[in-house]
Subunit: 337 residues, 2 copies
């Protein structure tokens, strides 16, 4: 085993890294990304195609089937060596592999696991995409050697996946880690019906963009702001870029985002005392401007601050996470049978 085990700790049961592959699928409302991955998380084949935007939920499923066949065919992998499949979905999934609710796909109560298992005759794992990404960080990313950590994805939405004792913790009703809902202060409580004042409404990409659009359009002396305002298509990334160029409004917004991030991640740290918080999603690309002040505040708020680390899987976090839940399932299946 020595060399081929790639530095992992030896355990009683170990799979041969050259002995098989899994398919990881990141099923989003816009694109479907697929990878074929070995036991070490190495991508051997990658494929991406648009999710058909259709009112028929079955068309998305047909498109998914088609792309799965394509990634297998194009990879030249022996079909017998494809041991399982994992699908990460932005939405709520249940223990029976159903997607209970995925608004981006228009799916409700869709038995994805059973449908795909029937067609491809391999074990299929279905999981919320952020939970899958957390397990991806545990198996193949910066959380490899960490027993307890929280993966927080901040992009269009905000969510977390919790790893406790090396395993995904999902809570009583698969709703653990829905940190977008975190209440950030009592003044916001009045407006909870509008969803305003929760963590997501303060730090998500669209929230940052909306704040910038609002402030820049009502501010008459910032040339940068007026330029933005004219086309109205401000993105969170624009705000961070403007802040790097020392635009005053953008700097103020970034400062506020840092502060709310510190409160949210600080409170997660206070409750769970994780060794590490791993940041993923669009915001994780703003390390220099955001993370320094964030780390400084976290140290002041929490008795025992965690390491704040950027995901090492980058744009592949979603598919690698999906592959991770597939491997997790394959390992458990082979232990049982």
């Amino acid at each position: 085993m020595g060399e081929s085990s790639g530095g992992r700790k030896p355990t009683l049961i170990e799979l041969n890294p050259n002995g098989g592959f899994v398919i990881g699928i990141d099923l989003g409302g816009t694109n479907i990304k697929l990878v074929l991955v070995d036991l070490d998380g190495k991508i051997v084949k990658k494929l991406k195609g648009p999710t058909i935007n259709s009112s028929s939920k079955n068309k998305i499923l047909d498109r998914l089937r088609e792309l799965i066949h394509s990634v297998i065919d194009e990879s030249d992998a022996d079909r017998d060596l494809i041991l399982g499949m994992g699908i990460g979905v932005s939405g709520v999934t249940d223990e029976s592999g159903r997607v209970s609710f995925a608004p981006a796909l228009g799916w409700e109560d869709m038995p994805v696991r059973d449908l795909l298992r029937e067609e491809f005759k391999i074990p299929v794992a279905v999981e919320n995409d952020v939970n899958a990404a957390a397990l991806g960080e545990k198996l193949f990313g910066v959380g490899k050697t960490v027993k307890n950590f929280v993966f927080v994805a901040i992009g269009t939405g905000v969510g977390a996946g919790i790893i406790i004792n090396g395993e995904l913790y999902k809570g009583f009703a698969n709703a653990a880690g829905e940190v977008g809902y975190l209440v950030m202060g009592d003044e916001y409580l009045k407006d909870y019906r509008k969803g305003f004042g929760c963590f997501e409404s303060l730090i998500s990409g669209p929230a940052i963009a909306a704040r910038a659009a609002n402030q820049m359009c009502s501010y008459d002396s910032a040339s940068m702001g007026i330029a933005f305002c004219q086309d109205k298509n401000i993105t969170a990334k624009d705000v961070f870029e403007a802040a790097k160029r020392k635009d005053k409004i953008a700097l103020k917004i970034v400062e506020e985002v840092s502060k709310y991030l510190a409160i949210g991640l600080g409170n997660i740290s206070i409750l769970l005392n994780p060794e590490m918080i791993v940041l993923g999603g669009g915001i994780s690309k703003q390390e220099d401007i955001l993370l320094k002040p964030l780390r400084e505040m976290i140290v002041k708020i929490t008795p025992i601050p965690p390491k704040i680390v950027i995901s090492s899987l980058g744009d592949d976090t979603g598919v690698i996470g999906a592959a991770a839940i597939a491997w997790n399932l394959v390992k458990h299946t082979s232990l049982i049978s």
Copy 2:
């Protein structure tokens, strides 16, 4: 086994409930409480004595030793049937059974486990008192059949013990559940150095009393308030009693406490999605006036609200929790040996 297993689920290994006892000790700055408890958590002997207030940390230890001998002697239990001892301490403990820091006892880095194990020749478990109480609820209280729950103690201080998959979750550095530190809003961030604005500073007993003293003394038309103000010895209990008598200031304070409780417990629920939150400590005695509004708010804040339940162990939560960590240790020890 049948009858003697008292309704518990049969497992491969089970201890005979009449075959032994453990000692549970709640070691506080004012009093030391001790119980002898059987496997079902039934108290067979109870003892309480003042903790000697002394600058010598060894005097507390001598007092503790003396009371342990007393509870054993007075119980008429066969010393051979006393299988272990658990001690709950308000402070930080470590994996080696040392009390790292317990300001109420004046202890730092005290090797309690080793000292008592040497003298009494039985396994000794040492744990933070709130963590111990959480395990007490799991083994003998309202959490018996619940896999994932959070025990929150609100009294002089505020802390939580987290049960995940039926076991105590302690975090990376034994600091999980230190919810007294939770940041409750951005306006408080300015004052974090003074510890003002955290959960504990808003809902602990002393915080409620201080708020009442402040407001009542500066309010000139509340007869109830003025009566309180004259003697200045307002307690949180007085505030709740006054609220029950419809005192306006007291009602306003209780409303604020409910609101902060809802935010704190709501955020715990959002992150962990527990089946249940168990409330202990002084505040748990205010079920009628506090819990109804609290439950209503929690339902609005969290996507999947937990049951909010009062501890069933009452004033014995501390000692029963200490007995629980002793049983937990004894079970693990007998599985290993």
